[in-house]
């Protein structure tokens, strides 16, 4: 009862303060009048009675405060008072407040944006229930088990065999049947692009092929319609159904519920849309991007045939990924051991294996992020987070500096308050309120910045022709993060100045001049802050310098081919309509039609575009070399004029010509590196070699060309050979090629004519991924570019903040030493001497800061050495440039206060109290 009454009176005091105040006033007025009346009755004149009554009651305002605090509103009232005072103080020096708030906003905003990215990239899991229970199956590759056809992802383990996630479909079926260790094994394959004809319009869609138990095992239910089930994954062709992603539903069907039951044609196969996935569901392969459509494996032989034999029954093609959920009570090692037995048996049953062959080993690995391929971005993200944290530290140092300076300037005010009887805790509370206000304002502004810029980094991460990998959602966790930083900043960096301000002795505080003589101990906090700021700025500048130069080096790296004036696009003819050899004929046709388009200087094509992150690889066995261990070489299947169009010079022999047809002798051109490695003592032209590809006809080398980078700018040159596409005997058909068009016209100008030319050959072939060769190259340098851009921004920001800090502390020091300077000048010091004195002090601070910053930068350099290209982590040019820049800016910032010091009038200074 007491508690209820307390709460209700407190609430009234806080929420209806005005009403309460009026009530108290009225009550007190009544009291005064009544008492006055009694006094009048006692014989006093009216005026005297009123005066006496008021005097006895005391100050009405003080009584009001007493009554309010009796109702528990004391703390609230004080807080409101503090806030109003803090706002007034901020309004008095708007410039400094603006600088502190905006630098905090930039620091907090940058951290929030980068934290968002980091969270999505590093922590986001597949949006299915209990993703930590998911497991993905991998296996090691073994040289003794020759897999004829491989399509998928592999990575090398240092000092060990390559590991991959691809298995054959018959192995999947066997493993699923004999699995007792995981709760179920399902199969999934991102199948690449297919042509979808929706309402007569053909376009490319990304696809994921799934097994019938996929949705059940993942525990995902479509928001509309139904999921793909076991009934759809039976006999080939038994399940002509697809489920579309939420994004696809929004973009292509305008979220209309009529999409269920709609029939669209996928690679010319009619399929019915039966469901829409929940938003945020990205499939099982990748935690960030969702394919547009999901279809059952049973449709592979119909909609996406890959040769005469169905991929579902072919034991020699390894392409399917397997995942499962853990079974309670079965540990991972136990599951791995049990499944390995079944896997071993399945491999022996399906592939021809020698008795004592080294078998590939099955591994069960964490699958909560699908097959996490973004590992190459994780290091940059960590580096960025570290740098962003430093920027925030800089901004906080700025804030602390500001608060310190103001606390010192208000020394007198604090002394007066203390003398009037204020409690130290009360004053501390008020100063903390001021700093918290600043930091919360900075945090709010930072959050706004982060919201506005939330898509900045994802946009930087995408190819201009692609989709955003994820929406930069700001969720509550990130919001809380930003708030926590702001509050911590305000408390931490407001506490020290506040403490120092209240530590003053009252008497000496009231006498301003008492401090100026003993200035040595003063300002030590501020000076430390500036040194910290300068060293952080040095660190950030060096980091920015290193990354920017890496990017520039990559840009100037020797490619070995000429990327200028090249337009690229992909053509992916479906194998259903273009089986072998119709696909080759199609490409010949397209080559001719495209060459005739006005504005086109040259046309060629290749299976892999250059600098796209992909390679084709095979064994390269020179004739007569069958005994030694076969070595690998990279290759590319190209058009006749590939080498000339790409600007790769011929060194020896000839390039391809019209005489290299489907029926003539098989030829190839090798690069210089291959000639050096495989034919060190002989002339390669005229020699023959064989490979481990399907076609075992010996191939004759007709020429040697210059070395060119293949998959990445950063990669080393490796032995490479080129073969004409017309001589490929791939029975699968559906040859997918990238066209390279050499033209001086802009893409927008020439693409319509290119489209018409292609359509004249076949109307159902869209031009996919239109981009220039330079854009293609730029997209592989995405991580480097993002880092360079961001760190450059950080460096500039750091420079600005450090210079402001420098200016602030020098201005403050000069103003405190005005008295001393006056004395010196009165004793005969020239203005130049005073100038020199101030600048010397400034340069001492800068020097310490730069030394400290350089040490930190060297340490940082060791951590990021692997991300650099073309320069060492202790690159002297970068260090020198950063140092010089910082010195220049810091000195410039100290110049103005120094000039002011030199211009001090001795008489005025001596009178300055």
């Amino acid at each position: 009862m007491r508690l209820r009454s307390r709460i209700s009176t407190w609430w009234r005091a806080v929420s209806r303060a005005g009403e309460l105040n009026r009530q108290i006033s009225e009550e007190l007025e009544f009291h005064i009048e009544s008492y006055a009346e009694d006094l009048v009755r006692g014989g006093l004149p009216r005026d005297e009675a009123m005066r006496q009554a008021r005097a006895e009651l005391g100050s009405v305002a003080a009584r009001k405060e007493d009554c309010r605090s009796a109702w528990g509103a004391g703390f609230f009232d004080e807080l409101r008072g503090d806030l109003r005072f803090a706002i007034r103080m901020l309004a008095k020096s708007p410039g400094l407040a603006a600088i502190a708030i905006s630098s905090l906003a930039l620091g907090i905003g940058a951290n929030t944006v980068i934290f968002t990215v980091a969270k999505h990239m590093l922590l986001d899991r597949l949006s299915v229930p209990h993703p930590e229970q998911l497991r993905m199956l991998w296996c090691t590759e073994s040289d003794d088990v020759a897999v004829k056809g491989f399509w998928g992802y592999f990575e090398s383990t240092p000092g060990g065999p390559d590991v991959t996630t691809s298995f054959s479909y018959p192995i999947y079926r066997q493993l699923r049947k004999q699995n007792h260790s995981l709760s179920d094994i399902f199969a999934v394959k991102p199948f690449g692009r297919m042509t979808a004809t929706i309402d007569g319009r053909a376009e490319a869609v990304s696809t994921e092929m799934i097994s019938g138990n996929y949705y059940a095992a993942l525990g995902v239910r479509p928001t509309l319609g139904r999921a793909i089930g076991e009934a759809d994954d039976g006999e080939p062709g038994s399940g002509p159904v697809i489920v579309i992603s939420d994004r696809c539903w929004t973009n292509r069907f305008a979220r209309s519920p009529a999409v269920i039951g709609k029939v669209v044609s996928i690679n010319l196969t009619p399929m019915t849309i039966v469901g829409v996935n929940p938003p945020g569901f990205t499939g099982a392969y990748d935690a960030m991007m969702s394919p547009d459509i999901f279809l059952p494996f049973s449709m592979q032989p119909i909609a996406a045939p890959n040769g005469p034999q169905s991929l579902l029954t072919n034991p020699d093609e390894w392409w399917v990924m397997m995942m499962g959920r853990t079974r309670p009570g079965v540990s991972d090692p136990a599951a791995e051991a049990a499944l390995n037995v079944a896997f071993d048996a399945a491999v022996r049953a399906t592939v021809n294996v020698k008795k004592d062959a080294k078998m590939p080993r099955l591994m069960v690995r964490d699958g909560r992020r699908g097959q996490n391929q973004e590992a190459e971005m994780s290091k940059p993200v960590y580096v960025l987070q570290g740098l962003a944290a430093f920027v925030l530290l800089l901004a906080c140092a700025n804030l602390a500096n500001l608060l310190l300076a103001r606390a010192s300037a208000r020394q007198r005010e604090m002394s007066v308050r203390l003398a009037l009887g204020a409690r130290r805790g009360r004053i501390l509370r008020q100063m903390l309120t001021e700093s918290l206000l600043l930091s919360l304002l900075g945090g709010a502004a930072g959050l706004v910045l982060a919201y506005v810029g939330r898509n900045a980094i994802p946009r930087m991460m995408t190819d201009p022709w692609g989709q955003l990998p994820f929406d930069g959602r700001i969720d509550w966790g990130i919001f809380a993060f930003a708030v926590a930083i702001s509050v911590a900043t305000g408390l931490l960096f407001g506490l020290a100045p506040a403490w120092q301000a209240t530590r003053v002795h009252i008497s000496s505080g009231l006498k301003d001049s008492a401090q100026t003589v003993t200035h040595r101990r003063r300002g030590i906090g501020g000076k430390t802050m500036v040194v910290v700021q300068v060293s952080l700025a040095m660190l950030l500048l060096v980091g920015a310098g290193l990354f920017v130069r890496t990017l520039l080096n990559l840009g100037y790296a020797h490619l070995g081919f000429n990327p200028d004036h090249l337009l690229l696009f992909d053509i992916e003819p479906p194998a259903t309509r273009f089986p072998a050899p119709k696909d080759v004929a199609l490409h010949r046709d397209l080559e001719q039609r495209l060459a005739a388009v006005p504005g086109v200087d040259a046309v060629t094509l290749s299976r892999e575009p250059l600098i796209a992150g992909n390679i084709s690889q095979s064994q390269f066995i020179p004739a007569g070399d069958a005994k030694s261990k076969p070595r690998e070489a990279e290759f590319n299947v190209v058009g006749e004029r590939f080498l000339s169009t790409m600007g790769i010079p011929m060194v020896e022999g000839r390039s391809f010509n019209a005489g290299d047809t489907e029926t003539s002798r098989k030829v190839a051109v090798v690069n210089r590196k291959l000639a050096e490695e495989f034919y060190p003592n002989a002339d390669p032209v005229g020699q023959t070699f064989t490979t481990d590809l399907k076609d075992t006809t010996p191939i004759t080398i007709v020429g040697v060309c210059g070395d060119a980078r293949y998959d990445r700018v950063k990669s080393d040159i490796r032995p490479t050979y080129y073969m004409p596409y017309r001589q490929q005997d791939d029975p699968n058909g559906g040859m997918q090629m990238t066209y390279e068009i050499s033209t001086r016209m802009s893409a927008a100008a020439i693409v319509p004519s290119l489209r018409t030319a292609v359509a004249s050959v076949d109307a159902g072939l869209p031009l996919l991924d239109i981009r220039t060769q330079q854009q293609q190259i730029d997209s592989t340098m995405r991580p480097e570019r993002i880092i360079a851009n961001l760190t450059a921004g950080f460096g500039v920001l750091a420079l600005v903040l450090a210079s402001i800090g420098m200016y602030g502390i020098m201005a403050y020091t000069v103003s405190r030493r005005t008295n001393e300077i006056g004395i010196r000048m009165a004793l005969g010091a020239r203005p130049r001497v005073v100038l020199g004195m101030v600048l010397l002090e400034a340069s001492k601070l800068v020097a310490i800061g730069i030394v400290a910053g350089t040490c930190a930068a060297l340490g940082m350099g060791r951590l990021i050495a692997s991300m650099l290209y073309g320069l060492k982590s202790w690159d002297p040019a970068t260090l020198a440039l950063s140092g010089t820049l910082l010195i220049g800016v810091a000195m410039a910032a100290s110049w103005i206060p120094a000039r002011r010091a030199a211009g001090v009038d001795p008489m005025r200074a001596l009178r300055h109290e």
């Binding site: 009544f30 009291h31 009796a70």
Partner: protein, 115 residues
């Protein structure tokens, strides 16, 4: 102009006195002042500055309840009356006071020989 040179109030007894005054009938603030003066036989005059904070404190604790009403000369005034909880509080405080007086009184009565 405080005339409590006769008795100095112990801290905390102000609450007790106000509760007692209000228990005899609803009063406004000035009325509480007068009544305490009256029932103390003009020997006690409360310091006016501490009256209203005390009243508000008692209301905060829920022992008295304030309500707007009409005074004798037809003016608006805030009247306070004892609540049920207040009556219980008054009784318990009174008991504690009596015990206290008893105790201190008995100590003070002790003569040298009784130790």
């Amino acid at each position: 102009m405080t005339r409590n040179n006769d008795v100095d109030l112990l801290q905390g007894t102000l609450d007790l006195l106000v509760l007692k005054a209000v228990s005899l009938g609803p009063l406004h603030g000035y009325g509480v002042l007068l009544r305490i003066q009256q029932i103390s036989g003009e020997r006690l005059e409360i310091r006016q500055a501490s009256l209203y904070p005390a009243l508000y404190r008692l209301e905060h604790e829920g022992w008295i309840a304030g309500e707007w009403g009409e005074s004798e000369n037809k003016r608006r005034a805030r009247f306070y009356k004892l609540t049920a909880a207040g009556r219980r509080r008054l009784d318990s405080e009174e008991k504690k006071w009596n015990e206290f007086v008893d105790l201190v009184g008995s100590i003070l009565k002790v003569r040298r020989e009784e130790i």
